[in-house]
């Protein structure tokens, strides 16, 4: 198989690094070409504007752990915002980081604090990784989710200290149990104000002894911990590998090594890493990437201009196993063929019917009425190879129109980007 042609690379870019586009916008994107679209997606002023445009109204987000409606609101608004986004790369990266720097609303409880964490990912997720990791370490939702707020000089809590190294920055095998304990001590004393969410540092509860941490002597507080993490030789590879897997669907060691050295040389600018990964990806044979239920739903809704009904969509996403803000554990969502389990597929089929019923894009609906599978594939933003023979047979078996559209959203071609 050859590398993608220009048309297909633009479609690939928007399905991987964005959330897809309806046909008219996709045509315009193809006009501007891969390089032009990549520049547009990564344009710093647009990124800044997207970070500033906020989907949530704080009035609906009281600092109240008992307030269940605010949790539904926080999740629903986020799904809506991803579907409607004008700056899809920002929201796609926010989603990516949410599955990496995990917190979950079932433990955090206060929806406002989860929202504030997502806001942080939206505004800082393409910037300097050091700033992102430092900010997340003392983010109120994270302080709750991984228990760092309970860590004191007397009784350090290791939960955050461990996951910071294992899952967030270095990976298993690149640190010792002693590092976990030293990190817990050096990060002790951080908490937040329950009434307003402001982060506070309580010196009395902080263990300021000098520790040896990741081979660095004299580590004793937040900044020295973050410095030692950022200086660790495993970090660039670990982060580059994460980005490759999530965006390209592969982590070829040679490619990862090349991206990692560029990432380190850039001073850990995430936008540079993303640009390099996507540029490299477009020049390679595309590796298949199974879209999880959430990115799949958002792509389906955007592509068909469907305004999905949030209560139902959120319920079905939960059943499908990928409700935003509710990852199964601190490792985030497992990916790949694990999404092809019966329970998730049933919910996904039900979501496909929901999206198809709400689709409004005239090009998509016309293609779903017609009998030309190549036209339908193109309207749905799929690469020029279109649907294979069996998918075409399944499409013609379903009644023309919205039923056929629902089946099209469930074809392997649409579910695997």
């Amino acid at each position: 198989m050859l590398p993608m042609d220009e048309r297909d690379s633009v479609k690939w870019l928007h399905r991987r690094a964005g959330f897809g586009l309806p046909p008219a916008q996709m045509r315009a994107a193809i006009e501007s070409g891969f390089a032009g679209e990549l520049d547009r997606l990564l344009d710093p002023s647009a990124v800044a504007a997207a970070g500033a445009a906020d989907p949530w109204d704080d009035e609906s987000l009281p600092y109240d752990p008992m307030d269940a409606p605010s949790r539904r609101y926080a999740i629903g608004r986020w799904i809506d915002a991803m579907v409607a986004t004008e700056q899809p790369l920002v929201d796609r990266m926010t989603w990516l980081w949410h599955g990496h720097f995990v917190s979950a609303i079932d433990k955090v409880r206060v929806a406002r604090l989860m929202v504030d964490q997502i806001r942080l990912l939206r505004s800082a997720g393409l910037g300097d990784l050091r700033n992102l990791v430092r900010s997340l370490t003392i983010d109120a939702a994270m302080l709750i989710y991984l228990d760092l707020r309970t860590s004191t000089d007397e009784v350090p809590n290791e939960n955050y200290s461990r996951e910071l190294l294992e899952l967030f920055t270095l990976g298993e095998g690149n640190y010792s149990e002693d590092d976990v304990q030293a990190g817990a001590a050096a990060l002790s004393g951080w908490n937040f104000d329950r009434g307003g969410g402001e982060v506070v540092f309580r010196e009395r509860r902080h263990d300021d002894q000098l520790q040896t941490y990741l081979g660095v002597d004299g580590v004793h507080d937040l900044d020295t911990v973050i410095d030692a993490v950022m200086a660790h030789p495993a970090l660039p590879t670990f982060i580059a590998s994460t980005i490759c897997e999530e965006l390209l669907g592969e982590s070829d060691p040679e490619l990862v090594a090349e991206l990692a050295s560029g990432f380190a040389a850039s001073g850990f600018a995430v936008s540079d890493l993303v640009r390099a990964a996507l540029t490299a990806g477009a020049e390679r044979e595309a590796a298949p990437l199974v879209l999880g239920p959430l990115p799949w739903l958002v792509i389906a809704a955007r592509t068909t201009a469907a305004r999905v009904e949030i209560p139902q969509a959120a319920l079905l996403l939960r059943v499908a196993g990928q409700l935003p803000m509710l990852p199964p554990n601190v490792a985030g969502w497992p990916g790949g063929a694990a999404w092809f389990n019966a329970g998730s597929l049933v919910a996904r089929a039900n979501l496909a019917a929901l999206v198809a019923a709400d689709a409004t894009d005239v090009d998509v609906l016309a293609a779903a009425e017609g009998d030309d599978p190549a036209a339908l594939a193109d309207a749905l933003g799929l690469p020029s190879a279109g649907f294979d023979e069996q998918s075409r047979a399944a499409l013609s078996a379903a009644p023309a129109g919205r039923d056929r559209l629902a089946i099209a959203l469930l074809t392997p071609e649409f579910m695997i980007a």
Binding site: T150, V319, A337, A338, A342, V346, A397
Partner: protein, 436 residues
């Protein structure tokens, strides 16, 4: 066109309710490879307190359905694994009578008057929330295991879970998934079912379990399964992701059909997961009981529940979770009894690790090493296994003295599957099954 899938097309024989036991006997030579399955010798009724007293299969609880002798593996035996995700605290589950327990847990140690005593055991008791399990203990059908874990422990949830799921061979599929991979024919879609969450333990290299997060949602809404069936693909699982998706659709259509028939068809959204973020153990086991008593070929069921990662507020949190576990297991065993399956089911409970002996400053305990497991069933040789010695800790943790592989060996023996071939080597150090 792909024909509509209808399991009943494949099923010829009709046998009455309760015939499963006879089926089990008829097939007991099964597919054992070098290990003969221990025969379930118990004739004692499980006195769980919720049983109606009758040991006859009840026509009202056993679905009157068709079945096929050829559908059953393992001589009809079933295995249920309950996963307590997060790392259930061993010490408060089976509180030791050693004085050091109170010294190291000044606010978390359960009082002597709260702890339930276990007849015949003087160095530990039982968490009061597990009272529903006492009748099984007294009937000699409950094995409680202290200090289970890998000799060189890892305190990460994910590493530890992975080691449990893959029997400490991290490049291999789940240890039950290997069993499913090894079956000559692809089993029915509900043969291996994960309830509550996905279960890598059941994931093979080529065969995946059916994952049902909540029973009320496992049905088609506004989409015709015939159209889905038209998408579905060949009967073998390739490595190509698109082929895997097609094959998964085929089995999904069949699984939904079977599941609706078994659970009564019209579930409502009320049956959705009870806990925010996770399903309850009791709910999962109630569904497991329906599946196992059906003729859909469900034989391996994993029920997952989260919430056991009690870094904070452990006392009330663990009490609620263990209530869910104790009541769920007792009700499940009673259902198996009334379905005539008491001698065909082994249920084991696992968790990725125990928790630190000393409590932390948040009313909880951090990740530890030696943990808690249990096994229940008429084939189980009841009693206390393993040990806790608070004067001989491993870096502040209960020392792991029982290898998980020993529990897996017993589970595989129960199924009549070659444990050595599945795990690489047998571990006969636990021996919690009755033999002969």
């Amino acid at each position: 066109m792909v024909p509509k899938i209808d399991r009943r097309q494949f099923i010829g024989l009709s046998v009455g309710a309760g015939a499963t036991v006879a089926v089990a006997v008829a097939l007991s030579s099964g597919n054992g490879g070098g290990t003969s399955a221990p025969s379930a010798t118990s004739s004692t009724a499980v006195t769980t307190g919720t049983s109606t007293g009758s040991t006859l299969p009840s026509a009202t609880t056993v679905p009157s359905k068709t079945s096929s002798l050829g559908d059953l593996q393992f001589g009809g035996r079933r295995l249920v694994v309950v996963q307590l995700n997060g790392g259930n605290d061993l010490l408060n589950t089976l509180p030791p009578t050693q004085g050091r327990y109170h010294d190291m847990r000044p606010t978390l140690a359960l009082g002597d008057n709260e702890v339930l005593s276990l007849s015949g055991i003087d160095d530990a008791g039982l968490h009061p929330s597990l009272a529903p399990l006492l009748p099984a203990w007294d009937a000699g059908q409950l094995a409680l295991i202290r200090g289970i874990g890998f000799e060189v422990p890892n305190r990460s949830h994910f590493v530890s879970m992975d080691r449990w799921w893959r029997a400490d061979q991290l490049t291999k599929p789940g240890w039950l998934g290997r069993v499913v991979d090894g079956l000559a024919d692809e089993p029915s879609p509900l043969f291996g079912t994960a309830l509550g969450a996905s279960a890598p333990l059941l994931s093979g290299a080529t065969r995946q379990p059916t994952v049902i997060g909540s029973s009320g949602s496992f049905r088609w809404v506004d989409i015709d399964p015939e159209w889905i069936a038209a998408l579905s693909g060949p009967d073998d699982n390739g490595t190509d992701l698109a082929d895997q998706a097609r094959h998964a659709f085929l089995r999904t259509v069949q699984a939904v059909d079977d599941f609706a028939e078994i659970t009564g068809g019209e579930p409502t959204s009320d049956q959705l997961a009870g806990r925010e973020g996770g399903a309850s153990i009791a709910g999962g086991l109630a569904t497991a009981a329906q599946l196992l008593a059906s003729d859909a070929g469900a034989q391996l069921v994993v029920v997952s529940a989260s919430g056991f990662d009690t870094h904070a507020d452990q006392l009330p949190v663990q009490a609620n979770l263990l209530t869910d576990l104790g009541e769920g297991v007792a009700t499940f065993m009673a259902a198996m009894e009334s379905a005539g399956l008491a001698d065909d089911v082994l249920l084991v409970v696992t968790s990725e690790f125990g928790r630190r002996v000393a409590e932390n400053g948040s009313g909880g305990c951090d990740h530890g090493a030696g943990g808690f497991s249990m096994a229940i069933g008429s084939a189980v040789k009841g009693g206390m296994y393993g040990e806790v010695d608070l004067d001989d800790l491993l870096d502040g943790d209960v020392r792991p003295v029982v290898a998980p592989q020993a529990l897996f060996t017993n589970c595989l023996d129960w199924l009549g599957v070659d444990a050595e071939a599945t795990l690489g080597e047998r571990d006969d150090s636990l021996g919690l099954l009755r033999t002969g």
